[in-house]
């Protein structure tokens, strides 16, 4: 706790330990910056850019940028809010998100962000891509319609030897995060549940688990995303 530094977010005086990433430093000061790909305890990659802030006139991802003494950070200005909203909209239109029938609904970070940023109708046209559902594993369904390529599963769901159950396949427009076919056959129940939990959206589903938690009783039904961050 010795190495405290001072910085500002939207003009508000803040303090944090040096070297912390901006998102975490902001949270320590009761300020919420939205994240999607970022996960506590996992090395950040800056994949989704939802956490963008402006520092010295430049947009930076706050999950990968350490806070520095005297830094002046702009986070809640109208244009940054709109940028975040447009990222959310893009994620919606580039997949097939049919929330009412999605088991993740109410626990989904993307959906929760859409509510928080009051997305009504996306500004972009829906792409309605044709995406497969892989149900060949006995424990997991990988629904490509809802994957946002955040890599959280790749980074966190590994076997004892450190091999990831989930991998990238193809490139460009055909890019997919898939469950490794062989490893998918033997994945155990606890790991399957963890994978579902770590996925911010409803792309990884545990088989036969559906809707046993009533609507209204789910995580973001009670409080909007980010509500846990306050002083």
């Amino acid at each position: 706790m010795s190495n405290l530094i001072k910085f500002k977010i939207d003009g508000k005086e803040c303090m944090a330990e040096a070297g912390k990433f901006i998102v975490d430093a902001a949270a320590d000061n009761g300020i919420y910056i939205p994240t999607l790909c970022n996960m506590k305890g996992v090395k950040p990659k800056g994949a989704c850019r939802i956490c963008s802030v402006r520092i010295n006139g430049r947009l930076m991802t706050s999950c990968t940028t350490p806070v520095a003494d005297g830094m002046e950070i702009e986070s809640n200005s109208t244009d940054i809010q709109d940028l975040r909203k447009s990222i959310i909209e893009l994620l919606f239109v580039s997949g097939n998100h049919f929330c009412p029938a999605c088991e993740k609904s109410g626990n989904c970070e993307l959906q929760a962000l859409a509510y928080r940023y009051q997305m009504m109708v996306p500004r972009y046209p829906y792409e309605f891509p044709m995406k497969p559902v892989d149900a060949s594993s006995p424990r997991i369904i990988k629904d490509q319609n809802r994957c946002i390529f955040c890599k959280r599963c790749i980074k966190t769901i590994k076997d004892e030897t450190g091999r990831s159950y989930f991998v990238f396949r193809n490139r460009g427009h055909k890019l997919e995060v898939v469950l490794d076919e062989e490893m998918g056959k033997t994945i155990n129940s606890a790991t399957a549940h963890l994978a579902m939990e770590n996925c911010p959206v409803g792309s990884i589903l545990v088989k036969e688990k559906g809707f046993d938690t009533p609507i209204g009783k789910r995580k973001y039904d009670k409080e909007p995303i980010g509500s846990d961050i306050k002083l």
Binding site: F211, I215, G216
Partner: protein
């Protein structure tokens, strides 16, 4: 050489109806066809989806009766997860689902009565369309309009408490339900401030019925004779023959009351029922195989249910049922507009059932779901407000839906609605070349009796925008009229 009259809604929302009336050169009606553009993409849309999503997905089929689809799908999946074929759920699971169903039944029937049929009764079927709607009722009979609004609200609150949301809830899951009723919720429904409590709903349902009977006895000739035609009738009945809209065996009677489908297990529905495809219609025409396409078609819905059932298992509705049956000497009722009468008796029954269920401690239980040995295929039937609804699913080894077949209530009533329109056409359009307001109203009234899901928006507005066109032998337009 033939002429064609086309009646077509001006606005297309979720589905739309279009009526063509085919005449020969002398103006005799040859055939009437009701074209309903049904959302048929659904059966393909669910293919590949994990089976447990079905009860939630299918609700999108209809904005008017999502709960019926939700429950029919859940019943089919009960079979798949090994929870029995309709009677294997835990008491809490079954009773919560029943409460949900009666709630939806009550609100749907109330909507139909107050928004769609009461205006006709109050202002006459040929009354000014500008006031022949719920707004007209609000202006002239405000207490009636309040009842309509409150009865719907009560039903919707029941749905919310059982399904989680007023529309598109998730309450029913394969093998049971995901929540019980809290004591607070129950007490609110039983003892809530006037008028939102079960006792009031029962007495209002009685009042609505009295309101209809008054109209009926003052206009007996019209109500009895409007589009009368004999038909078979089909519905679920409880094993002992009681009216049961949630579960039972499949029974059909003919126009004289003879049983022609003998209380069979609906898991085998495809042994008894076939669907005919006709080139001019998107909607199929179901019929009882044994009797063929010509003779095997049947009606479903309130009229049919009170024709197949032997009795109603709640006292007030049973009393009304007896009086109603006496009108036809205990024989099946084939009067098209008695559908409204039957619907209101069912509304009363639903209110009584809601009250009875709310007093049942099983609703508060914690044992919600039951599962057994998994199966690959399941059928779920339910009596939706508009009639028997069939859901049939088959899954693959990976738990994905491989095949879905649905026969919705409106499809079951396809042939009867065509018959009803044809009857009307024969009586008011034969030899005519100019379209009158009366013709359009008559077609509307005939179709509306069946309360088809033509379009959610038109349901809500309480009127069906029509375009009526007379087409001469050489396809020239002779006349055209629109209702707004």
């Amino acid at each position: 050489m033939s002429k064609k009259i086309t009646i077509e809604p001006v606005t297309r929302v979720e589905g739309h109806g279009k009526v063509t009336i085919h005449m020969d050169a002398q103006g005799n009606i040859q055939q009437s066809r009701l074209h309903i553009v049904e959302f048929r993409g659904f059966e393909r849309f669910v293919q590949g989806r994990p089976y447990w999503e079905a009860p939630v997905l299918v609700q999108r089929l209809c904005g008017i009766c999502p709960v019926s689809h939700h429950l029919a799908a859940a019943k089919a999946l009960d079979v798949i997860v090994g929870a029995g074929t309709g009677d294997g759920l835990t008491p809490t699971g079954e009773k919560m689902r029943r409460l949900m169903h009666y709630g939806q039944f009550f609100q749907s029937h109330a909507l139909h009565f107050f928004h769609l049929s009461a205006p006709d009764f109050l202002f006459g079927v040929d009354g000014d369309p500008a006031t022949r709607n719920i707004i007209g009722i609000a202006l002239t009979n405000p207490e009636l309009a309040v009842q309509g609004v409150m009865m719907r609200k009560f039903g919707q609150e029941i749905i919310r408490a059982t399904a989680g949301k007023k529309i598109h809830g998730t309450g029913a899951i394969p093998g049971g339900i995901n929540k019980n009723l809290s004591i607070e919720e129950r007490d609110e429904f039983l003892k809530g401030a006037d008028p939102l409590n079960a006792d009031k709903m029962v007495s209002w349902a009685e009042e609505a019925l009295d309101f209809f009977k008054k109209y009926y006895f003052a206009n007996k000739d019209f109500v009895d004779n409007f589009s009368y035609f004999p038909s078979n009738h089909l519905s679920l009945v409880r094993k002992d023959g009681a009216l049961d809209i949630y579960h039972g065996v499949l029974r059909a009677v003919d126009a004289d009351g003879k049983k022609i489908l003998h209380d069979v297990d609906y898991q085998d529905y495809d042994k008894y029922i076939e669907e005919e495809v006709r080139s001019w219609s998107y909607m199929k025409f179901p019929y009882l195989k044994e009797f063929g396409k010509e003779k095997g078609w049947y009606r479903v819905g309130p009229l049919a249910r009170l024709n197949t059932a032997d009795f109603i298992p709640t006292p007030l509705a049973q009393k009304e049922f007896e009086a109603y049956k006496a009108l036809t000497n205990g024989k099946p009722n084939n009067h098209c507009l008695h559908m409204h009468y039957a619907r209101l008796i069912e509304t009363l029954h639903a209110a009584e059932m809601i009250r009875e269920l709310l007093n049942d401690p099983d609703l508060l239980g914690d044992d919600l779901v039951i599962k057994g040995e998994k199966r690959k295929e399941g059928v779920g039937l339910i009596e939706a407000p508009r009639g028997t609804l069939f859901h049939h699913y088959r899954i693959n080894d990976n738990d994905q839906i491989e095949m879905a077949n649905l026969i919705v209530s409106t499809t079951n009533n396809n042939e009867p609605m065509n018959k009803a329109v044809n009857n009307v056409a024969k009586s008011v359009m034969t030899g005519k070349e100019v379209i009158t307001e009366g013709m359009m109203n008559a077609v509307e009234v005939a179709i509306r009796a069946y309360d088809p899901c033509l379009s959610c928006a038109t349901h809500a507005l309480g009127k069906m925008p029509l375009e009526l066109t007379f087409v001469g032998p050489d396809d020239q337009i002779l006349d055209r009229k629109r209702s707004h």
